[in-house]
């Protein structure tokens, strides 16, 4: 099971990187989302998979009766999802503002901070 998911993670990474390399901020944001999903899946996978048994101790028991899914990666992923979501929201709004102010569909044209033809250093003392 893990191996198939490992390959799936690879596809997630591939697609997210391909999206991130497009010069459009919106596509890059989609890449960010997919990247986050890929990482989460990856953590999930390397924490090993257990089919269908959630890490919840049934009522009345003190310890789970059967093998359960590994809870720790799940907790880590939850944290990562939330953080990723917060950052995604920020980047989204940033993109929105960048569109408004910089009118940039193409990151290559967003050159306010790093001008296209930067002045040469003065050849004097």
């Amino acid at each position: 099971m893990e191996h198939a998911l490992a390959a799936l993670c690879g596809v997630f990474f591939t697609v997210s990187i391909y999206m991130l390399l497009s010069r459009s901020l919106i596509r890059m944001l989609l890449g960010i989302t997919i990247l986050g999903n890929g990482v989460n899946l990856m953590i999930f996978t390397v924490g090993r998979l257990t089919r269908e048994v959630p890490p919840i101790v049934p009522d009345g028991l003190v310890q789970p009766a059967t093998d359960i899914a590994n809870p720790l990666p799940q907790a880590l992923i939850l944290t990562a999802i939330v953080i990723g979501f917060a950052l995604f929201s920020f980047l989204l709004v940033l993109t929105y503002r960048a569109y408004e102010e910089l009118d940039a569909d193409n990151t290559d044209t967003m050159r306010l901070a790093e001008p296209e033809n930067p002045p040469s250093p003065p050849l004097s003392y």
Binding site: E52, V53, P54, I56
Partner: protein, 108 residues
């Protein structure tokens, strides 16, 4: 067939049907052609997902999945209205800007 066997059979068949349904709907999302078509298909995908979760709940006997299904119903609804709003707002902005002719089909 014992009740358990029947239930297992029904679950297996239902999972197959739902999987097929999801693939079909996914195909519609990819095909479009218009934005509302995709939104509709996405909404449908969420509905199928609800069913899928419920079946998994039956299959595994963990009733806690039901709550996920319920929440998904509520939240999927929100996504759809947000998209609907998006369709409307975009049209408004375009028509108030008068910059380009309204050609919703062209945008996929």
């Amino acid at each position: 067939m014992s009740p358990e066997q029947f239930l297992d059979f029904a679950i297996a068949v239902a999972l197959g049907l739902l999987s097929l349904a999801m693939l079909l709907v996914t195909w519609r999302i990819m095909r479009g052609p218009s934005l509302p078509d995709r939104i509709l298909a996405l909404d449908m995908l969420v509905n199928i997902g609800i069913g899928y979760i419920v079946i998994v709940a039956i299959k595994t006997g963990f009733m806690l999945y039901l709550d996920i299904a319920i929440s998904l119903g509520l939240i999927g609804f929100l996504a759809t209205i947000a998209f609907a709003r998006f369709v409307l707002q975009r049209w408004r902005i375009r028509t108030t800007n008068h910059s380009q002719p309204n050609n919703p089909e062209g945008e996929g």
